[in-house]
């Protein structure tokens, strides 16, 4: 085992346990918990068996396993950014509705002619 594996695999296992604990204490939704547990265990598997990613990469026509992982992470991050963008926009709309509600509620009486 390489030093890298010795450091990262226990770390990922710890994240896995922490996620499972958060799930059982209902701190996160089951869907989100399963998503993150898949991420952690996937990362651990690929680090434990480095050849695995190369095999998949070659099958997809990508030279190195590390490149495959890089491309996939970029895709995930872009998807994540987009999700954050949509959520941000929704928050913006909600904020506007509150500001509008308060503005109309607090509008004083119209001035005299």
């Amino acid at each position: 085992m390489t030093t890298f594996q010795l450091v990262t695999i226990p770390l990922l296992l710890a994240m896995l346990i922490a996620t499972a604990a958060a799930m059982s204490r209902r701190r996160i939704t089951p869907r989100l918990g399963l998503f993150w547990m898949m991420i952690w265990s996937g990362a651990a598997v690929f680090i434990a068996f480095p050849d695995l990613s190369s095999i998949i990469a070659n099958a997809l026509g990508i030279g190195r396993g590390a490149d495959l992982v890089l491309y996939l992470s970029i895709l995930f991050m872009l998807g994540g950014f987009f999700g954050v963008y949509l959520r941000f926009r929704r928050l913006d709309e909600q904020l506007t509705r509150i500001v509008r509600h308060l503005a109309i509620r607090d509008a004083g009486e119209p001035p005299q002619q």
Partner: protein
């Protein structure tokens, strides 16, 4: 007393302290119901507008011109307005164009009347601005079914029925394109009326830079794609 019903002039204003007083005063000479939506200004816009006789509806936070317009429309509809007119705060519109918009509503029985600076009346529009606005109007003709010569004019009049149904959700400047889309989707009838835009150093400095067009186009496209 502000009369119930009637014509309401909605003026969205953000940091318009130098201009808002005279704009409201000129409006009030013809129209008793002037609603200034102060969009979280940092200056004395609200005080100046009140001094000139407007009712001021105040956003606690700056939310953008689209948001301010919708607030003014909601307020006016809530007060029982029969016709809602939108009018820019920087003094680029002429008060005397408003009766012509309202007359157009009545003459054509339209739901909405929109001012156009491209229907023959003279103005001192800078050439780059003319090109940008004409291009934007052409693009809007492609993306929506409404044919307008000037889709981004702040001077508009709408009947109560239209004002009740229009809901601008784009807070920023892309609301103008969103409005055209909604006119299309709600099957509202629209008439264009020639108006004069007066470009002063002040209005140009307050207005959108050419580069902002990209931001506006982005907001609009994202709204079209992911509502």
């Amino acid at each position: 007393m502000m009369e119930e019903g009637g014509i309401y002039i909605v003026v969205p204003a953000y940091n318009e302290e130098p201009a808002i007083h005279d704009v409201v005063r000129d409006l009030r000479a013809l129209f008793p119901n002037v609603v200034v939506v102060d969009d979280g200004s940092a200056d004395a816009t609200a005080a100046e507008a009140r001094r000139a006789g407007a009712v001021v509806v105040q956003h606690l936070l700056n939310r953008g011109q689209g948001a301010a317009l919708q607030t003014g429309i909601d307020y006016s509809v809530g007060r029982g307005a029969d016709i809602v007119v939108t009018f820019d705060a920087d003094g680029q519109h002429r008060v005397e164009d408003i009766p012509r918009l309202i007359e157009a509503l009545e003459r054509h029985g339209s739901d909405v009347a929109i001012g156009s600076r491209f229907l023959g009346l003279e103005s001192n529009m800078p050439a780059p601005r003319r090109l940008l606005l004409r291009t934007a109007a052409r693009l809007m003709r492609v993306t929506s079914g409404v044919a307008l010569t000037d889709a981004h004019n702040g001077l508009r009049a709408m009947r109560r029925g239209a004002a009740e149904r229009i809901h601008l959700t784009i807070d920023g400047m892309a609301h103008a394109s969103e409005l055209v889309d909604q006119i299309d989707r709600l099957r509202l009838t629209v008439t264009e009326v020639p108006v004069v835009i007066h470009y002063s150093d002040y209005s140009l400095q307050k207005g959108q830079s050419g580069l902002a067009a990209f931001r506006i186009a982005f907001d609009y496209l994202m709204k079209r794609l992911f509502r």
